[in-house]
């Protein structure tokens, strides 16, 4: 029976969904390796301890709280040193991180400090004998690798949305942990956090994504995509590489081989031809809808439902119909 560590990502004093998923994944691993404890570490400005209940609710038995005014923003160097120390002392079987911007920054630092193996970007975790096996999309999602890690601690990072939130509450005992290095002495400093539009959902968390391609013809016409996203109420806006290269939308909205990889419940592709580069970022979406005037467009090969037609005619009609359906539902 071995304990499992989880890093619970937070921003602005709140644990992110990714953090809850990391704890949930750690709970899964703890159950599968004989029912050890889950120790979740959360770092932030004083007051972050109030998040402990949320971590306990998804399976944390112990919540390790690192509070320091200089941890109000993510502080890679201080957090990595503190997490590595804690994992070293804790004798954990595994340590779970999120495969988010923050987690993908943190986990390799910790792995290198501990000289411990890291299996990144898991879409599923399993225990096989003495090894932890991680399913990890490779070759832009065209191949799924099963990565095997036998050593302890095994570090893994889990993809946003891949792990269902835990329902087994842990004890949630809170334990204060002091930062290993002075967070004020870091070499790299976050000097500003530019929050995106808070009324929009992040692509990685949105259950619905409406994405636009070159078929929209101009930046202004993206208003059609935005209105459809608003009609769904819980949708994020995405774009193809052609669109972000044109400067119609920011790179942060790009979905594809070199952009975000998303897997929402519903993906609506508007004026997108379906280049391989784009499909790499969205092909695992649960339901795909495509609207394109070219009936030969490759997007129709992956779409569950397609409408062949002019986006300028179809999308406004769909927006109205979605509004109406939601008003009735």
């Amino acid at each position: 029976m071995a304990n499992v560590f989880a890093f619970a990502e937070s921003r602005g004093g709140e644990v992110r969904k990714a953090g809850l998923e990391a704890v949930s994944a750690a709970r899964q691993l703890a159950e599968q390796t004989g029912g050890g404890e889950v120790h979740a570490l959360v770092a932030g400005a004083p007051g972050i301890a109030a998040q402990a209940e949320r971590l306990a609710a998804v399976g944390a038995d112990v919540v390790l709280v690192v509070e320091h005014p200089e941890l109000a923003q993510y502080n890679a160097e201080a957090v990595a040193a503190t997490v590595a120390d804690r994992i070293r002392q804790g004798g954990y079987r595994a340590a779970v991180f999120s495969a988010t911007s923050q987690g993908k920054d943190l986990s390799p630092r910790v792995a290198a400090k501990l000289r411990a193996p890291l299996a990144p970007d898991a879409i599923a975790l399993a225990v096989d004998g003495d090894a932890i096996v991680v399913r990890h999309p490779m070759y832009t999602g065209k191949v799924i690798g099963s990565l095997r890690v036998s050593a302890s601690p095994a570090l893994v990072s889990v993809r946003l949305g891949a792990i269902p939130l835990g329902t087994t509450a842990g004890a949630g005992r809170v334990e204060a942990v002091a930062p290993t290095t002075d967070p004020a002495a870091g070499r790299v400093r976050v000097v500003e956090l530019k929050e995106g539009n808070t009324s929009t959902v992040d692509l990685g968390e949105a259950p619905v994504i409406v994405a636009g391609g070159r078929g929209l013809k101009s930046a202004d016409n993206f208003a059609l995509v935005e209105r459809l996203a608003q009609a769904f109420g819980n949708a994020a806006v995405g774009a193809t590489r052609a669109v972000t290269d044109e400067g119609w939308r920011p790179h942060s909205e790009q979905i594809g081989q070199t952009g975000r990889v998303v897997s929402p419940e519903l993906y609506v592709a508007v004026g997108i031809s379906g280049a391989i580069q784009h499909l790499a970022g969205m092909r695992t979406s649960k339901t795909i809808v495509a609207i394109n005037k070219d009936k030969e467009a490759p997007i129709f090969k992956v779409a569950d439902y397609g409408i062949v037609g002019d986006v300028f005619e179809v999308v406004p009609a769909l927006t109205d119909a979605v509004k109406q359906a939601r008003a009735q539902g």
Partner: protein, 250 residues
Amino acid sequence: MKIAVCIKRVPVMEVKFAIGKDGASVEETGLKYDVNDFDLWAIEAALQLAEKNPGSQTTVVTVGPDAAAEQLRKALSMGVDQGVLLKADKLPADGFAIAEALAAELKGGGYDVIFFGKKAIDSGAETVGIMVAELLDLPCVPAVFKLDIQGGKGTAMRALEGAAEVLAFPLPAVITVDEGLVKERLPSLKGIMAAKKKPLETRPAQLGAAGVTIARMELPAERAAGRIVGTGKDAVPELVRLLQTEAKAL
């Protein structure tokens, strides 16, 4: 300035991959190779920094088989001064093992900036650059889409989910490059000719022990064939009905 850029030879992804006989690799027959997308932008960022600082020296490094010399030559033809091939016939599945080989080469090189692409599109791991920074005990700024380096220090921006961070850092530093920072230049004919005479050294990669292995590879399930619901806006009611009753997505 002394600037290094680390790149990877990766298959061109516009193919249908097949799983190799061992069940834990992709079949290499018929694959074409190129410089990893993000690494092209890392090369470009290195060249632009060198051009802003006359007298700079740029070095491109890779870990890979003999054939990876082709990707190093591409970097040289874009304008990098010299190349180093750390020879390894097969790359381990553990990013740390690769990071150790790169760190051994870069250590003591006196580099002001070491660039990496944010991630390799074949392994999809996004770990090696950051691990090299740790091994060299250098400040690390991952996944930047804006960068300004002057007077021995820099500022950069990187995307978070739904936000962006502005970071300040001193040199020397390791920087990994995201899409949007720069667009890579095409090698000119003159560049291609010049690259043939540029120094390219080969030595064995001092790979670390691999703690991660690939037990299996498989192709993801194909999506079931979809259907065209209809043409034009008249098809919208039927689409909405299907989304409600069949896909339960609305």
